[in-house]
Structure formats: structure tokens, C-alpha cells
Symmetry: C2
């Protein structure tokens, strides 16, 4: 039996104590599986407490400074659970890699911004840089893409990458409640942060998508190229109309190799009811990859939480204990291609469009003419009568008049054409407020 693998744990929040829970509960099993013990020898956190989550901290060497711990000769692996794209997390990871120590991290922001340089550092010293927990919690998507699908050229990857958003959208639909109302409850339950904008604004999903894009297409991570829209503007009515039209609304991250660059986008998306991705509800995440040989593969599971995240962190540690070390991004960092952005205006797909149409003769025809003029072909229309119409001010200073919801679904259309048509409809005063659109994916 080999020597124990010594772990330095930086960050003792819920995931950190989740890792300690796991090692306590399943330590003997892990030792059997890995052929050596896995032992936490050192810990570091912002504030020093005697106990955390039922664990006695006096069992471990304490470091106020995670960088100092990363450099310490008494650990083999730095487990970074501090978070944040810069600051102590980055400094500690760099220090560990520079010293030739392995790193396991759950930090998506760090990887989305600095993943390529960190991978390069790891490869230089032959160390592992594992980050299964950074993308989609317990779901083993990183190893699947990096190892299992090594023989495939990916055509696309997409997924439900943020559990908070999926929880909110599921609740809105199941309980017929408004976004604001459900968000408030999610905050009270601890499923959403006090400042929810990082999650509901789509940025967390975008970090994860940027990492997946690199793994899928062998390109450098390029977070700046991700087009991001959050779920803040999705209304209960959108969810109802979508359902009536045979769709469900999900916040998706999608990366597609268009042949003309990689399109990376995070936005609310209508997906067909009954499609597997539409049935991933609540706090669950899912990632689907299309490989040229494997075909479509989908993985789903818990996207967050102390124990599911700890499962991925420890899976990464187990790989190191067994001597499994592969290039962090699937190909050596120096052989990653530069990321080339496919412009969002060149995106082509179906659209759901919702507007408050002025309720007078000829408006539907006028709007239909604008769409036709832009080469946009309409698949179906839902027009609700005055029964549910509202009185809405059209523009400042203008007379208040009646409007009625006007909803439609288009066939595949160029994003630029759609944007142009909606601007025209607004400019010509056919509707109250701005027409809104949600993209459709017919997987």
C-alpha cells in the first residue's frame, strides 16, 4: 500500500465541510478503491473556528494564508474551494502549481478567466488540475468530455447549468407564480443568493459554458465571447404560452461549432415538451453533447449542494491518488486553438415573440407584413382577445388605448433579421412597450 495522499483544503464553507463529511464517511472505501489513504492534513479559511460543520479543526494544520498552505511541503494536493476569479483563490492555485503540487478546484470563475494559463502551469510541472466540481455539480461532464469522448469531434454542447434558475423556472410553471415571488422564496430557502444577479443574470452558467466550450472544441477558454441573457424578463405568461405551444422555458447554455467560429450563448430557451432536456426540473442540471461518433449523450444530476459538489471534488482527488493525470483541458494547453467567435447576429433558429399589440383593425396584418418583409416565416400564432387584454400606455404623452397579447413562433430565422423586425414593429408603434423574443431550440 502506497503512502497516504495529503490534502490541503482551502475554503471551509459548505462544500469544504462536505468534503470532510465524505472523507469521514467513505474514507475506508476510498482507500480500497485508490490503493492508498486520502488524508486532509492542512486547512485554511478566512476565519479560524474550532469546529466547522461538526468537524474538529484541531486535527489539521491551520494556515491563515492559503498561499502559504499551497507552498507547504506537507500537502500533495491543494483543494481550492475559496471561489472568485482572482484574489487568494488564484494566488493559492498558482502557488500550488508552481510548486508542482496537484490542484482540485470547484472554481468556475477562476477557470473561465484563467483556465488556459493554469492548465499550462499544471502541464509544465506534470501536476493535475482537476475541476469536475466547477461545472454542473455532481455530474461527471468534465471527465466525460476530456476522457470518455476523446475519440469524438463535438458538434455542440448545451445544458442546464444553473440550478437556481432551473428551480425558479420550474416553480413558476408548477405553481403558476411570478418570477419575483419565486425568487424571493428561493432566497429565503437559501437556493438563491441575496444578490441573485450572478445566477439569474446567466453569468454563472456562462462561466461553466466557457469551460465546456473549450473541452468540446479544443479551443482556448473565452468567457468574453459568451452572449449572456438571464431569466429576469421571463414572465409567467411566457411560460403559459410556451406550454400551450408545446414548449417549456429553460435557461440553457449552448455552444455550437458553426463552421464559422464557435457560437457561445446563455439565454432563456423554449425546448419541446417531452424532449429529455425539458424534463430536467428543479435544482437538477443536465449537459448534452453531440459527438460525431458517439451521437447524443446527456448527463443529468444535482448541479449544486455541499454533498453533490463534494462527490465531484473527491472523484478528482481519487484520480490523483490513482495516478490518473491528463491534460486539464483535454489537449495540451499549447495546442488549443484560439477561440473564434461566431457572431450572435448570424445565429439562426426559431423564435418565440411576445408583444402587447394595439387592439385595432389592421395591426396584425401590419406586423405580419413586417415579418414577411424581413423574410421571417411564422409557424404559429396565439392571439388572445380582450378577455385578457390590459390597458397600457403606449408611449409617453400618447393616448392610453387597449392592447392584447400577441404571441407567435417562427420557423428558423436569422437573428439579425429578427432583431430588425422587432425594432421596426416597436418604432412603428404597433405595440406597447418593446416586443420580446425568446430563442427556441428544437433538440
Amino acid at each position: 500500500m502506497s503512502k497516504p495522499l495529503k490534502i490541503g483544503l482551502a475554503g471551509l464553507g459548505t462544500v469544504g465541510t462536505g468534503v470532510l463529511d465524505l472523507l469521514r464517511e467513505n474514507g475506508a472505501l476510498l482507500e480500497k478503491r485508490c490503493g492508498r489513504a486520502i488524508e486532509v492534513t492542512a486547512v485554511s479559511a478566512r476565519s479560524r473556528k474550532a469546529r466547522r460543520g461538526g468537524h474538529d479543526m484541531s486535527a489539521y494544520a491551520w494556515f491563515d494564508d492559503p498561499v502559504e498552505m499551497a507552498r507547504s511541503g506537507d500537502i500533495d494536493v491543494l483543494v481550492e474551494l475559496i471561489g472568485g476569479e482572482d484574489g487568494p483563490a488564484k494566488a493559492a492555485v498558482e502557488a500550488a502549481l508552481a510548486a508542482g503540487r496537484h490542484v482540485v478546484t470547484a472554481n468556475k470563475a477562476l477557470l473561465a478567466h484563467h483556465g488556459v494559463e493554469l492548465a499550462r502551469m499544471a502541464e509544465k510541472s506534470g501536476a493535475a488540475l482537476n475541476f469536475e466540481a466547477a461545472v454542473a455539480g455532481a455530474i461527471p461532464i468534465v471527465k466525460t468530455m476530456r476522457e470518455s469522448l476523446a475519440g469524438n469531434r463535438a458538434a455542440r454542447v448545451f445544458g442546464i447549468l444553473n440550478g437556481t434558475c432551473n428551480y425558479i423556472l420550474t416553480k413558476m410553471e408548477d405553481e403558476e407564480r411570478d418570477f419575483a415571488d419565486v425568487l424571493k422564496e428561493a432566497q429565503e430557502l437559501g437556493y438563491a443568493e441575496a444578490d441573485p444577479s450572478f445566477d439569474v443574470g446567466g453569468f454563472d452558467a456562462a462561466h461553466k459554458l466557457a469551460i465546456l466550450t473549450s473541452l468540446a472544441f479544443g479551443v482556448e477558454i473565452n468567457f468574453a465571447d459568451v452572449y449572456v441573457e438571464g431569466i429576469e424578463n421571463v414572465t409567467l405568461n411566457d411560460i403559459r404560452y410556451a406550454r400551450g405551444l408545446g414548449y417549456r422555458i429553460k435557461l440553457l447554455g449552448v455552444a455550437v461549432d458553426t463552421g464559422d467560429g464557435v457560437e457561445q450563448r446563455v439565454h432563456p430557451t423554449l425546448v419541446p415538451l417531452g424532449s429529455p432536456i425539458a424534463e430536467v426540473n428543479g435544482v437538477f442540471n443536465a449537459v448534452a453533447v453531440r459527438g460525431d461518433f458517439a451521437g447524443d449523450i446527456m448527463l443529468s444530476g444535482r448541479g449544486a449542494g455541499a454533498h453533490p459538489t463534494a462527490s465531484s471534488v473527491v472523484g478528482d482527488i481519487a484520480d490523483i491518488a490513482r495516478g490518473v493525470i491528463v491534460p486539464p483541458l483535454g489537449v495540451p494547453a499549447d495546442r488549443l486553438a484560439p477561440s473564434r467567435r461566431a457572431r450572435m447576429r448570424a445565429h439562426e433558429g426559431g423564435y418565440y415573440v411576445a408583444m402587447e399589440l394595439a387592439d385595432k383593425p389592421g395591426e396584425v396584418a401590419a406586423v405580419a407584413r413586417i415579418f414577411a418583409g424581413a423574410g421571417i416565416s411564422i409557424e404559429s400564432i396565439v392571439q388572445k382577445g380582450r378577455a385578457i387584454s390590459r390597458v397600457v400606455p403606449l408611449r409617453e404623452g400618447e393616448m392610453v388605448r387597449e392592447t392584447a397579447p400577441f404571441i407567435l413562433i417562427t420557423h428558423d430565422t436569422l437573428e439579425s433579421a429578427m432583431r430588425g423586425a422587432l425594432e421596426r414593429i416597436e418604432r412603428d408603434g404597433h405595440c406597447a412597450g418593446r416586443p420580446r423574443m425568446i430563442r427556441i431550440e428544437r433538440f
Copy 2:
């Protein structure tokens, strides 16, 4: 750059030529990812042909005998795609492992019967024995369980493990057709074998389940302990009634650690409509694992086919090229626990029961009394009137009389109680023919 990894390919059927397709198409990409080339240097098959699937065989050293190829010093890895639990497949794999060469195989029968001894041989010589393609085609479930979930104690694993059966059940439901009719079409399309009993009888799924059970619970593979029922007796009416009751019928393989041994079973199963497993249709497979830390994880994808299977075979080869070698069954073979069987009669779950009830007063009450006497609690009943009743001979020599379908769903019940009640109902002559039951899983 290291030396190329030399492959000897035994078996040149659809999967074998699929592997050659993949290496031709994505060879350069693989070399970039693995840091070395992967080259087929030798091949072996039953009959020698100049070309196979568009590939020129003269490029490779030819071996009539795969065992001789396995022993040849000119290969690093034996890729065994011959199939069959014994015979040349087993002999070639044993010869390769004895010579310290790595093995990649798609052979579920071989592993289900001899997996533990082969794992032991591989570990002895430090060779890899990889078999991702043996379970669920392109789905990376073996690596997920063996590596990603290393930190978890599994509570259960279940899945749709046979694409032929799933295709047939999906077609029966979608097109309202009988089993025999759809099976015939599947045979014509090449989705089912001329002798379909291995697939539709559940044995193929049972082989895969036996392997998953070992990976999940760290026990020796024990195929003989799998309880197996096929889909031959599932009727279109069963599918219709199940749907009306909120369920869909799938052939599932299920392994559960009951605390009193491992229950391994393959049988048609009612799963709730809208549950993720119910939405895995057609030739797709899916496997779901519950880990004590990860929670529920589900992987789905193509369960068969030349290219999806080749994707898994090559993923396994890529691991070897990168130096990734772990114990084939997740823990060293000598540390696997003996498999302890939980008796099927001790299974507890819900049941769907269908019978042709004699259509006369008092029969429903009599049947209900038998269930009540056995401690079986009924959740819902569907009784169809004479509108769809049929005239059926009750027993030989007895008068022909009217019967009507009588369908019910039970709450959780002991299998032994259910079997006893159904025997009693039959013995007492309450129904024509035998009452049938299908187990329910409410995942």
C-alpha cells in the same frame, strides 16, 4: 512525442470497422489529445477479406488466430470485438493479459461470466482491462462509476440497457402495434437478431446489469443471481392501461443494495410518465445511479450501433495511450466482496396486475378479498365493461363464458405475497388464463 500505441483488432464486424472509421476520421485529433498516435497494426477475423467496410486490410498484419495476435510482440493493446462468453474471445483476452498487454473489449457476456478472473489477471501484470463499450454503447457509465463516483457508496443502479427492447416498446406505444408485429419489423430493419430471444428475453440486459452491480457495490460479478424476465408477454393493452394510469412500460435492469444482499433483476417495469427514465425512448439507453453523496445521476445515449460503440472503444484506448490505468472493477479484484443475493420473493414494490376476470357478480369482491387477505393494498383499479370484453375459454372442458379485463395497481407489497395471491386467484377460477403482473418502480 511518445511512440505510437499499437492496436491489434480482433473481430472485424460492424463495431470493428466502426473503430477503423473513427481512427481514420479523428486520428489526428486523438494524437493531439493523447500525445501519441494510435495505430492499428494487426487484425484478426474469422474470414479473410481484402476489404472490410471500405478499409483496405492489406495495411495490417493478418492473423487467422486472435490468440496468436494477442501474443504477438507487435501490439500493445488487444481490442476484442469477437463476442461470446467463451471460445476465441476469452482465449485471446487471456493470452493478451498473460503477456502483459492491455485489453479493450465490448464483450458483456465475457465480462458477466469471467470478469473477476480477467480483472485479477490484468492487475497482476499492471495492464488495463477496459470495457466501456460492453455496457450501454456510447454512454460513459463504466468510467463514471469506476472513477467519477469513487467517493460514493451506491444505493442502487438501474437502467434501460437494451436498445432493441426499448425500440420495440416505444414503437408499440407510439404506433399502437402488437409485440410480434413490431419485432418482425425490427428484425427486417436489423435492429433485432433473427433469434431475438437473447435481447427480448432480457439476457443481454442481465449481462450488463451484472457488470454494473459489481461496479456499484464492490462485489464480485454474479450473473447467475440476476432474476430475468423479458418483454415477450407485454401486450399493447398493458401499455395502454399503464399509460391511462400514468405509467410507461420499460425493460429495466435494477440492482439495489437491500442491506440483506444485492437484488439484481431485469424485467418489464412501469415507470411514472414524466420521470426522466420514462422519456428515454427508441434505441436510446440510460443508466441512473444513486450515490450517497452525489445523489441521483443519470446518463443517456445510444446503446448500440457501430459508431457509438466505437466511440467507447476508442475512449478506452485513449485512456491507455495517456497512461490511465485503474482497477477494472473499481476496486482490486481480490478486495471485491462475494456477491450476496437478496431473494426475489423478498422484493418489495408496487405491482400492475392484469387479468381476464369472469364477468359475473361477486368476482371483483372475491378477488379483492384475496388481495386483502394477503395484506396487499390496492391503489387503483381499472375495470372495463363488456364493451371490450372477449369470450375466452376458462379451462379445458369448462363452459365458455364472458370475461372482462380487470386491471389494478397496488401499493408497495412483498413479491411473495403477490405471487401467492395471484396463484390463489388462478386456482379458485376467478379469471381466464393466468393473471399477469408487472413490477412498478416509482423513481
